[in-house]
């Protein structure tokens, strides 16, 4: 868009002028995590494809995922999924016309972060225990 932008009026300088607040962060991260999860779905479908292709392909993909960069990416996808899930609930509640009060919106933002971290840790703890790594 920027290359075609000819409107001389100033753009909203929201990220450079406003003090950063938690609801701004959740709003931006909802979009960021959503775009990231596009990649997460591709990884899930790669996982299904590897399972369909046979044990040797499955083992190769698992080898990639078990590497430290692989684990970091998977952890990021888990966190993105959990955050997008809980923050999505906030959006659904807003769609119902509730929770717009400044203090409530800030509190629910913190809650979304906390719940996302807790669920991510729970998922990885269960996975690590199941795999005998913990």
């Amino acid at each position: 868009m920027s290359s075609h932008w000819s409107d001389p009026r100033p753009l909203s300088p929201f990220t450079s002028i406003w003090r950063w607040h938690i609801t701004m962060l959740t709003s931006i991260l909802h979009r960021v995590s959503g775009v990231a999860l596009y990649g997460g779905v591709m990884v899930m479908i790669a996982w299904l494809g590897a399972a369909a292709a046979g044990p040797q392909y499955y083992a190769r993909l698992m080898g990639l995922m078990a590497s430290w960069p692989g684990r970091l990416v998977l952890f990021g996808f888990t966190l993105a999924l959990c955050f997008h899930l809980f923050n999505g609930v906030r959006h659904l509640i807003w769609d119902g016309g509730h929770g717009y009060d400044k203090k409530i919106a800030s509190r629910s933002a913190w809650l979304a972060f906390i719940l996302a971290f807790l669920l991510t840790l729970a998922i990885w703890t269960v996975a690590y225990k199941g795999l005998g790594l913990l």
């Binding site: 868009m1 899930m44 494809g49 399972a51 717009y100 199941g130």
Partner: protein, 126 residues
């Protein structure tokens, strides 16, 4: 806070696009579906995933495992197509926008077909 409803006549097929609430509603319906299916999937997936290839194949060859995975991925792909579509509309303009929206649609369609094919192969051939 009180909600002032949009008049019904403005919702039903008016405006240049001939409709504007379709994606809005679909995005929320798929969100609600995913709110149920993702936790269900995670509960089932984790125990089969940690049992390795055999555990995964055993779960995906049960009707519940195969259908849950298919329904969840279908809802996810529908949801992410609309979501990335909004992002594209926000940041990309002109001919590039139309191209990006088309690629988004093609990619989502291809991903769904691949997921379906993989699940069918696992279910009937595994």
């Amino acid at each position: 806070m009180t909600i002032k409803p949009t008049p019904y006549k403005r919702i039903t097929g008016l405006g240049a696009s001939g409709g504007g609430t379709g994606h809005f509603i679909k995005q929320r319906v798929t969100a609600l579906v995913l709110l149920v299916l993702v936790p269900l999937f995670l509960l089932q997936f984790l125990s089969s995933f940690t049992s390795g290839y055999d555990g995964v194949m055993a779960w995906l060859t049960t009707p519940f495992g195969a259908l849950l995975t298919l329904f969840m991925l279908s809802a996810m792909i529908a949801h992410m197509r609309i979501g990335l579509g909004v992002v594209i509309e926000d940041y990309i303009g002109g001919a590039a926008r139309a191209l990006a929206l088309m690629l988004n649609t093609f990619l989502c369609a291809a991903l769904w077909v691949i997921a379906l094919a993989a699940l069918i192969k696992i279910y009937f051939g595994g």
